[in-house]
Assembly symmetry: C2
Homo-oligomer: 260 residues x 2
């Protein structure tokens, strides 16, 4: 994505080129790849200026979802408004109109005190979820479909911090709010996967990993790549085969209504 580079026009050209390339790949292997697009976001530029690319990708190119960058300036100025703000509403309207989900995922860290994959991403995805879940976004857009990546950053681990904040601020119980969104399982060990599933519920977890992502390395303890998490997920013995099928396929099929 790299939304912090260049200008809104550079972001548009780059986004269209990337999305066109993804469309070609998906057309070549339709049984293996379902395309998801990026959007021509740019620091300080409002969603009404860039949401049209979602129309093009979904209607003309057969895309089934999109990614949304919650912080286009990479942790520097201009900061992007909270995802609780109606600044984002044109995007939510378009997602609901097209019935496609979005994943919230940041792009680049321009703050030298924040490691890209291990601090900035985790922090941004935590923040985005906190903002959306304490806002009136789902009251205004009950059919909106949002995916929080990487196991929700810090949220399942800091669970009672969020439950307590929701009680203190008079919001709906956090355990209910957390079930308004979906959480991907791109975390890389069994105990953390189990914590995620227990906290947000089997119906709200999507299997995910990366190729090749933040942890593209061999774990010296197992001899396997850290990202090779299918065996770890399979080893969770308190999940039934039906539960596992939901997490690896069923939930995604419900969420991505445009999947073939």
């Amino acid at each position: 994505m790299g939304h912090h580079f260049g200008s809104p026009l550079v972001s548009r050209y780059w986004t269209e080129a990337c999305n066109d390339l993804i469309a070609r790949v998906a057309k070549r292997w339709p049984d293996k790849i379902s395309p998801v697009c990026q959007l021509p976001q740019s620091p300080g530029v409002r969603p009404e200026e860039w949401v049209d690319e979602l129309d093009r990708c979904v209607k003309d190119l057969g895309f089934v979802g999109c990614n949304v960058n919650p912080d286009m300036a990479g942790g520097r100025e201009p900061v992007t408004p909270s995802m609780a703000s109606d600044w984002w509403y044109p995007l939510w309207e378009k997602l609901v109109e097209l019935d496609v989900p979005c994943t919230i995922h940041a792009s680049a860290s321009l703050n030298p005190a924040m490691h890209l994959t291990n601090s900035y991403y985790i922090g941004q995805h935590t923040s985005a979820a906190v903002e959306i879940l304490r806002s009136r976004v789902f009251a205004d857009f009950p059919k909106l479909k949002v995916i929080i990546p990487h196991g929700g950053g810090a949220i399942p681990y800091q669970w009672n911090r969020h439950r307590g904040m929701h009680v203190k601020e008079g919001l709906e119980p956090f355990e209910d709010a957390a079930r308004r969104v979906y959480w991907d399982m791109a975390i890389y060990d069994r105990e953390s996967m189990e914590l995620l599933i227990k906290r947000v519920g089997i119906d709200h977890v999507l299997f995910a990993t990366e190729m090749f992502g933040a942890v593209n390395a061999v774990d010296p303890q197992t001899g396997r790549n850290f990202e090779d998490i299918v065996p770890i997920f399979r080893s969770i013995d308190w999940l039934s085969e039906t539960d596992k099928q939901k997490i690896t396929e069923g939930n995604a099929r419900q969420l991505f209504s445009r999947l073939p």
Copy 2:
């Protein structure tokens, strides 16, 4: 703390007033309170300008530790250098010279997309730990004592993300690096406490809660305040009494060498 307010001089006056007040309270109840100070940090101002307050507090007032704000501008400009940078070295030198530990804890979020206690704090403490543990700080200051608060933000939950990053970047194993610092247990449920203890080890966890902090509210599921975590900690049945004593007292007595 509020280091983002005013100027370096305002920060100094405010810090001295706060520390003097803490010293009075500690002197009044010496069997209950051991004083820890803040430092007159200010956005963009180097540690050599404010580390003298640590001397005053420890040598003249009997303080046993201090707090360090990793991001004085509250998530805005000017961003503070990474804790891996030698920008921070005058602080580490002074801490080692006085043999007092520091807790890394941020103060105010000026980014409207980041909830203070639930996003910004968690993100800042994660980032600070990531930076320190991947740096040469402990090679240069082997006797430095650092405490990461609130269960380490996201780190124990994202454990293999950190292990994998350390392998990928050729750093020491993350599970070893994590034992160079101490982690406080101000997280508010049993499963998260257990995850923390298992990952960083019994010898590196310090019991902690807040009064009154981020989750000053009654949990409708238990009828108890979220911050009332002694019963939760006591219920962890696989810890021996010796283990529990380390976490509630022994580790802290080793770390805070100036405790009476």
